[in-house]
């Protein structure tokens, strides 16, 4: 594992030579874009591109958190259910505060704060169970995945939680509007990605994550506080799930037990397509962004054509995902 990290770190120094290893995900993205253009002339239209990017932003923001968790050798399966329960609680908090706050931004801001807070608390719980409770991350987050999913079903009484119509009107622009025609979800996604890239590449925290994921014992002997760094990755993940939900709630103004189903797998797939190693030790934030956009484009392209039977959508998705990763593996061995 450790062999790949210094290897790639050395690459940028070579200047203008195209690095095929890192270009893997970009190549897959370019191929997908070409396919999209040939299938439908509206593919490159501004509205289609913003649609796809805005839709991908929730998974994208979550996947950036997942990149840190996975780089540090962990895993978080609970993010989809966590998103659902945060969405549910946010809606309940906002509906509950209307009588005291009135309709307006104060209610929305209070709802947003509760969402971020709850995400952080959920992350602390996952992280403490894993680092202090010494339980496998897979088991802890599988457990919380079930807990969060049941909680949202319970809160919604098996149905759907809907945001008060008037508050939804106030909140709506957060998904649908933006600055200079770029919707807010895309802007936030971009900001989180840039901050994540800096955190991963330029700070001690990012290097600690890679060190722990690559060899935990060595990291421990190098006097890295392994438990605290790990705990921080889960908290960061929880907070970012909260941020994603802030942007998700204004879209439909509702949460139910189907909210966020399989988001965890999409996020993990995005991370791996982007070139981060599932076993940990090496993470690439910009790769995750490309990976998530690839996943978003696959769904979009499937809807823009009628050549492939809708029964085969899953197969097409699977083929593209495997191809995207294969493209990198080949470069890696060559």
């Amino acid at each position: 594992m450790s062999a790949s990290a210094p290897d790639t770190a050395a690459k940028p120094a070579r200047g203008f030579r195209i690095d095929l290893k890192t270009a893997g995900p970009l190549l897959a993205l370019a191929l997908l874009v070409l396919l999209g253009i040939t299938l439908n002339e509206n593919f490159l239209s501004y509205s289609n591109l913003t649609n796809v990017l805005a839709r991908s932003s929730f998974i994208g923001i979550i996947a950036i958190g997942a990149t840190f968790v996975i780089t540090a050798g962990g895993l978080d399966l609970s993010v989809g259910s966590m998103a659902a329960v945060i969405a549910g609680v946010m809606i309940m908090v906002m509906n509950w505060l209307i009588p005291s706050f009135g309709i307006g931004w104060s209610v929305v801001l209070a709802g947003m704060a509760s969402g971020i807070l709850l995400g952080g608390v959920a992350g602390v719980f996952n992280g403490l169970m894993i680092t202090r409770g010494r339980i496998e991350a897979f088991i802890v987050t599988l457990g919380t995945m079930g807990i969060f999913r049941s909680l949202v079903t319970f809160l919604a009484n098996g149905g759907t939680l809907s945001l008060n119509f008037n508050v939804a009107d106030v909140y709506r622009p957060v998904y649908y509007d933006g600055i200079l025609g770029v919707p807010w979800p895309i802007l936030v996604f971009a900001l989180v990605a840039i901050a994540g890239e800096i955190l991963m590449r330029r700070t001690a925290f990012g290097r600690y994550c890679a060190a722990i994921g690559s060899n935990e014992q060595v990291a421990r002997y190098s006097s890295i506080n392994v438990d605290n760094v790990r705990l921080l990755t889960y908290i960061l993940q929880g907070v970012l799930v909260g941020v994603a939900v802030l942007l998700y709630v204004p879209r439909l103004g509702s949460a139910s037990s189907t909210t966020g189903v399989l988001w965890e797998l999409e996020a993990i797939a995005g991370v791996i397509i982007g070139g981060t190693t599932l076993k940990g030790g090496y993470g690439r934030i910009w790769g995750t962004v490309v990976g998530v956009v690839i996943l978003g484009l696959i769904g979009n392209i499937l809807n823009l054509q009628s050549l492939i039977s809708p029964y085969l959508n899953g197969a097409f998705q699977g083929v593209i995902i495997i191809l995207a990763v294969l493209l990198q593996r080949e470069r890696r061995t060559s």
């Binding site: 439908n40 509206n42 239209s45 509205s47 289609n48 649609n51 839709r55 079903t153 919604a156 009484n157 098996g158 149905g159 759907t160 809907s162 649908y176 879209r251 439909l252 509702s254 139910s256 037990s257 189907t258 909210t259 189903v261 769904g299 979009n300 499937l302 809807n303 823009l304 009628s306 809708p310 029964y311 959508n313």
Partner: protein, 316 residues
């Protein structure tokens, strides 16, 4: 829906009369439904529990065992436990995946229990004593009839489908048969998995792809709610109308208010589970004959009759 109400009323009347006359033997009825994984199944859970609470009061000698399961293996385990450890006399089941569960349900029948199957047809005939279901081909046909009426000149429409299971196919076939020979042109159909988020995505992409859409058939109100947001975002809500199905309160309210975007809905009520539980209880308590097939109408809900479908207490 009217039929459902009549049946319910009849069952309750017959049941309560019989309850007095027949000896007070203890009977146990197992009720097994899929977990509330989308709005409609949420409604099923709600109406099942409501019916059980109501019947417990009416018949103190009837005991109910209620279980909801997220998948077929768990649901099979549930009904095996009900037979083995709870000694049920009858089973009311809405099988999540009817094909996978047919043989398990047949075993319950072979053990001499009264079996009521709800909504989804088993893969072999004659297993169940009583079959209570909505009219899936009718749901498609009634929606098709409305499209023909609303677009007499024809026009471009798109279809958002549910999940690839038999119910969806029956609805789709019913609809396609209904619009045959008209100038209605189906531009494309895609699965939206009876889910709001997927309804939003698929509709966004349909809007990108097709500049001219006159009508949208989603056959489900959860999908409709997602699609409506996508249509509003694109600013094309004046260009088209959307027909869903199932009778979600939010949509029925819009229909009642005379919305141009959702002018009608087609009923497919999760309350059918309550009908099934009432009939089964009536049979066990009083011996009244209920075996057979009860297909509840998939009625077209319009502005005129919407009031009859509104129920503020329903979570669906």
């Amino acid at each position: 829906m009217k039929l459902a109400k009549t049946l319910l009323a009849a069952a309750v009347v017959v049941g309560s009369l019989g309850g007095i006359a027949v000896a007070q033997d203890k009977v146990t009825i197992g009720v097994s439904v899929p977990a509330a994984d989308h709005g409609w199944t949420g409604g099923v859970n709600y109406f099942a529990q409501q019916a059980i609470d109501r019947l417990k009061v009416t018949y103190p000698n009837v005991e109910f065992v209620f279980a909801s399961a997220p998948d077929a293996p768990k649901q099979i385990a549930d009904i095996e436990d009900m037979v083995a450890t709870r000694g049920i006399d009858a089973l009311v089941i809405l099988p999540g995946d009817p094909d996978a569960m047919t043989s398990a349900i047949k075993q319950v029948k072979d053990a001499g229990k009264f079996v009521t199957v709800v909504d989804r047809q088993l893969s072999i005939n004659g297993v169940e004593n009583l079959y209570v279901a909505g009219d899936n081909p009718g749901l498609g046909a009634n929606a098709a009839a409305y499209f023909k009426e609303a677009l007499p000149e024809g026009g471009n429409i798109v279809i958002l489908r549910g999940l690839p299971i038999p119910i969806d196919q029956q609805r789709f076939d019913g609809f396609m048969a209904g619009i045959e020979g008209t100038n209605l042109k189906v531009l494309d159909d895609e699965f939206a998995n009876w889910n709001r988020d997927d309804g939003f995505k698929v509709m966004q992409d349909f809007l990108t792809r097709f500049p001219d859409i006159k009508g949208v058939w989603t056959q489900d109100d959860d999908i409709s709610l997602g699609a409506i947001e996508a249509i509003k975002q694109a600013g094309r809500d004046k260009d088209m109308f959307i027909v869903g199905g199932a009778g979600m309160q939010q949509i029925i309210q819009a229909v009642a208010d005379g919305s141009a975007l959702t002018p009608v809905d087609v009923s497919y009520s999760p309350a059918m589970i309550a009908t099934a539980i009432e009939l089964t209880t009536a049979h066990l308590v009083s011996g009244v004959q209920v075996s057979g097939r009860y297909v509840l109408d998939s009625t077209l809900i319009t502005k005129d009759n919407a009031a009859g479908f509104l129920d503020p207490a329903s979570p669906f």
